[in-house]
Amino acid sequence: MGHIVLKNVTKSFENLEVIPPLDLTIEDGEFAVFVGPSGCGKSTLLRMIAGLEDLTSGEIEIDGEKVSEVPPSKRGLAMVFQSYALYPHMSVRKNIGFPLRMEGLVKSEIDARVESAAKSLNLTDYLDRKPAALSGGQRQRVAIGRAIVRDPTAFLFDEPLSNLDAALRVGMRLEISEMHKRMKTTMIYVTHDQVEAMTMADKIIVLQSGAIEQVGTPLELYNIPQNLFVAGFIGSPKMNLFTGKEAENQGAYTLGIRPEHIDIVSSGGLWKGKVGVAEHLGSDTFIHVHETGLAKVVTVRASGEVDLKYGDQISLSPRSDLFHKFDPKGIRLT
């Protein structure tokens, strides 16, 4: 079980309120991702659930039990840190077995569970090494091993992949997702990377300045962003957002259209412009179009290779059924 409920939780450092009153429910077995720009309070929120940070007010319940006064070690949660936080003076075997030793299990039981965790993480050959003799990816695996060996109620991940290089990050992302599918244990994952959030989450919680902007599945957030912040934050490249005449024409204060929802047409498009930089990724081409008469440069995502050069005149046809419309306060209209 791992049903986590946050009720009216707040956090202030001295007089600065970093988390205004917040309610959130994370269902048992769910993969929940806290995402937001740095300083949005996502890590603080995770640390509050872990018990490493006190609540200023409110209540946290795990499986119906109030845990606000319960120390971290007694909450049944396991945490994986960005810095891995391995014990440098212990071998991999001792690192993974440490929480079990603290639980007071007998050595044979500890050994068996460490071996099985190591096997599932491909760490068997490294069990007697010290963390210093491991690569970043292996260290993060050890940190994950130390978490899974305890069979916790829920896993907490605090930007676990941020210190890894891009290629490894993709691999580890998959491994963690697979682990979740296999174990079906509740996981709460903090990241500033919206791609990680989109690819891994069952439920994304978008945070800004400590407040929840929107909660939903990845596709809900992508298709129906409830406000300008979520619209701009989710999706890569970013959604095109304009104010002014064109927005008014469509009955909105701010008009949004995702780069992949604009087609390049030979003639008769809604907008015309001049090609600026074109980024050729092979699978996609990102074209930045200037002089469209709109307030901003328009980004267009075309699939495959598009033969366009700097300065070419093009015609753009946005799919009007996929327009996102926002009022002056940035709230979704339709």
Binding site: P72, S73, M79, A85, Y87, H89, P99, M102
Partner: protein, 277 residues
């Protein structure tokens, strides 16, 4: 080019010469003390016997037979060991608390602790003597161990605090998540990780405790008297007996110099911790 080579020659030969000169200058009093300890009291004051003299071990025999050197030495060892243990016993948890659970007043507390070292010892001499006599603790090992540890505690806490600050907070927090209590955090994580720093602190505090003279001379007579007191006692009302005094001093500083020699790597590492990082 000529100027460049001239400069580099100057640097090449000048620096070692300068370094050796300064080194020898500092070493000379010690060398002189050791040398004098092998002279008779009469030879010790004669300039013509400064280097050339007939060496004798009389001063050392005299010291062990008539001045009870071993009792003083034993007291010094007991004082330094127990004071060091006590200092670490209090200092490690204190530094741990301040390094990993700092409050708004942590910095002030650290400054306040250091400020006690700024107080001249003489200012509290009479209260200390009256108190210790009043409590019946005067000239007891308990008193000396307590006093010597307490005066060194601020330095120990400062040093330990600096070492502990270098340990990533995440590791301690990982420990909390892994089910360790506060005592376990110190025993299982902090001490093994900061072992080098703790050893350096222990070594330095041991040296300070061994060398402590102001309080050991003033708060002891016989029972708890350390080697400092023995040296002070040999200042001798009969006049200055340099040979004897040198032998006592050599025997008092000898053990700590040997200890320092063996542990110099650890000491240097400890004292430059943080500075080189």
């Amino acid at each position: 080019m000529a100027i460049v080579s001239k400069t580099s020659n100057l640097v090449k030969y000048g620096r070692p010469i300068l370094a050796w000169s300064i080194g020898l200058l500092f070493f000379f009093p010690i060398f002189w003390m050791v040398l004098t300890s092998f002279k008779t009291d009469a030879d010790a004051v004669k300039p013509e016997h400064l280097i050339w003299f007939t060496p004798t071990l009389d001063n050392y025999f005299n010291m062990t037979e008539n001045y009870d050197y071993w009792r003083f030495a034993k007291n010094s060892v007991i004082t330094a060991i127990f004071a060091t243990i006590f200092t670490l016993f209090v200092g490690i948890p204190a530094a741990y608390a301040m390094a990993f659970n700092p409050s708004r007043s942590t910095k002030d507390i650290l400054m306040w602790m250091l400020s006690t070292k700024m107080l001249p010892a003489a200012a509290v001499l009479y209260p200390m003597i009256y108190l210790s006599k009043g409590l019946g603790l005067y000239d007891t090992k308990f008193l000396i161990v307590t006093v010597v540890s307490l005066i060194n505690l601020p330095i120990a806490i400062w040093m330990l605090f600096t070492y502990f600050k270098e340990i990533p907070k995440d590791i301690i927090e990982a420990g909390k998540m892994d089910g360790v209590n506060t005592f376990g955090e110190i025993k299982e994580i902090l001490v093994p990780l900061a072992w080098g720093g703790i050893a350096s602190t222990a070594l330095l505090i041991f040296i300070f405790c061994w060398n402590e003279a102001y309080w050991t001379v003033r708060l002891t007579t016989i029972d708890a008297a350390t080697l400092s007191k023995l040296i002070e006692g040999n200042r001798a009302p009969e006049g200055l007996f340099f040979g004897r005094l040198s032998a006592v001093s050599t025997a008092a500083v000898g053990p700590i110099v040997v200890l320092g020699w063996f542990c110099q790597k650890q000491l240097v590492k400890g004292l430059t911790f943080g500075a080189v990082k």
